[in-house]
Amino acid sequence: MEELKENKAKELIKESKPKVLIVDDEKGLRLGTQRLLEMEGYHVETAENGTEGIEKGTNNDFDLAVIDLKMPDIDGLQVLAEIKNARPNTVCMIATAYASYDTAIESTRLGAFGYIPKPFTPDELLYNLQKAYTQRVLMLESEQLKKEREANLLELANERSRLSTIINLIGDGVLVINKQGEVVYRNNAVFKNLNIVEAKNNKELLSKLPDKIIDLIDNYLGSDELIKKSYSTQIEIIHNELFVEAVTSPVPNPDGSLAGVAVVIRNITELKKIELIKNQFVSMVAHELKTPVAAVLGFLKIIIDKNLNISEQQRNDFVSRSILRLRSLLDLVNDLLDISRMELKTKQREIVTLDIKEIIKSTVELLEIEAQKRSISFNLVTEESVPVIKADQNEITRLFTNILSNAVKYNKEEGSIKIITGSNENYLIVKVIDTGIGLKDDDKEKLFQEFYRVKNEHTRGISGTGLGLTIVKQIVDSYHGKIEVESQYGEGTTFTIYLPINNNN
């Protein structure tokens, strides 16, 4: 076993050629040792006195040094001290004929690895140097490890500060609670998302957390077994202004036990606002759908009720009114489908080159009968060369049908509708000027809202879904155009529609 180790050490020395410094004033011994060691594979340098020994030993990184204790100029112990000071990893041996207990202690204290009594046999020297070299290898390894550890610690510190910077940059609040229920980490967003203005320390922060979050945390801390699930809860922090969602997750130790709880607090105010708008829209749609259904059901119940005993004429009247209501319900459903298709952008478009004059003309023809009933006249004024546009024919037809049918519906008896088409550099411009009932400023703002219908003494008896102009606006917007409205209450309304001209081809 011991022999095996020795053989290994010998091989190692042959391979790595350790650098040895021999400091001895005795020339014969110096040269003899040098020759012996070089044969064994060492790289040897020599110094003939203490001064030279210090010079060589401090300027070069020797693996090993063998220093004679008694030299004429400088004492071997001082040489040892100087070399150890400059090169702590050079393994030094003291060689002496005057071995004494005191010098042994002193040399060990100064960092000598061993003590070789003189005179020594070659074997004794080689044996000691092998041991010394093994020591040298260990020392270098340990130094390497130390350096690596320091580098790792630095890296770890950098990593932590980087991570902390990242977590602080996240808009979501991040909070970590340990098993003892203490806050051990929190980023700045925790304060913002929970509207906590001040907390002097983590303890105060804990006392300011909403009960709902505390309850979730207690769930984990109070359980004997590790709860692996995440929980979430929504909390209204400021009424109607700040909503957050808190998600709690367990933080396990490597052995599977609970180390703590992580809480992520996200601001979901915008989401809640959209939810509210959606709910309002759904409730409006429900109301608009239910109104005609309720009316028709009312009529049908009357018709079927034998006790009421209505006349033939009344029955016919109720049936035709029911049909009207159902037609308007169908219109409403179609409008709603159009709106949702346009919003989802699932509507199949067929983009073709369109002559806007033709579309307006055919729309006017369609509305003429209705207009004539109330003696309303159309007046179409078009520029000689109106540019063509590229668009879906159905959509553009729908746009002008909605605008022009409004111009008829909300016009006065014997009123007029003037349509002027023109253009500038970028837009095809269509003005629709009616002499109708006009709009109040309040109504102008809400005109394009879903289901908004102007209600006053003039508009009673005018039917509609309240979606016509919403659809117009959506179509115009989808072609990157714009629509403007000017109106004088009681005088009339002018809609100006701008549709971009495609100049590219």
Binding site: V282, S283, A286, V293, G298, D305, I310, R321
Partner: protein
């Protein structure tokens, strides 16, 4: 015979309710907006008011009911509601909603007559 005021902006609902109530011998006056509704109630002093919750604006019926109560009109009010249940807008009886009972649209003639009789007999 008792006089009932129906205030609703849907002429078809007015027509149907009127027919049902008339067949049970009630006298009916009607209005299709909150202003006219207020007027006919002040002028004719009916025994019962039937009021639609949503007229021009979603809460018109409520505001009118509150206006009646503020001006010391103690006539019982039966309110027609439409989407209250589906939208979670469930009204209980409170100062905010000073009405005596509700009928959910579409209106069933039997339920309407039953509720009308109940409210009229209370006084």
């Amino acid at each position: 015979m008792a006089l009932i005021a129906i205030i609703d902006d849907d002429p078809d609902i007015i027509e149907a309710s009127k027919l049902v109530l008339k067949s049970h011998g009630f006298d009916i006056i009607t209005a299709s907006n909150p202003d006219d509704g207020y007027k006919i109630v002040m002028e004719k002093n009916p025994d019962l008011i039937i009021l639609d919750v949503m007229m021009d604006e979603p809460d018109d019926g409520f505001f009118l009911a509150q206006k009646f109560r503020k001006n010391n009109v103690k006539t019982p009010i039966l309110m027609y509601t439409s989407v209250s249940k589906t939208t979670g807008y469930d009204f209980g009886q409170s100062d905010m909603v000073p009405v005596d009972d509700f009928v959910e649209k579409p209106i069933s003639p039997e339920e309407l007559i039953e509720k009308v009789n109940k409210l009229l007999n209370k006084n």
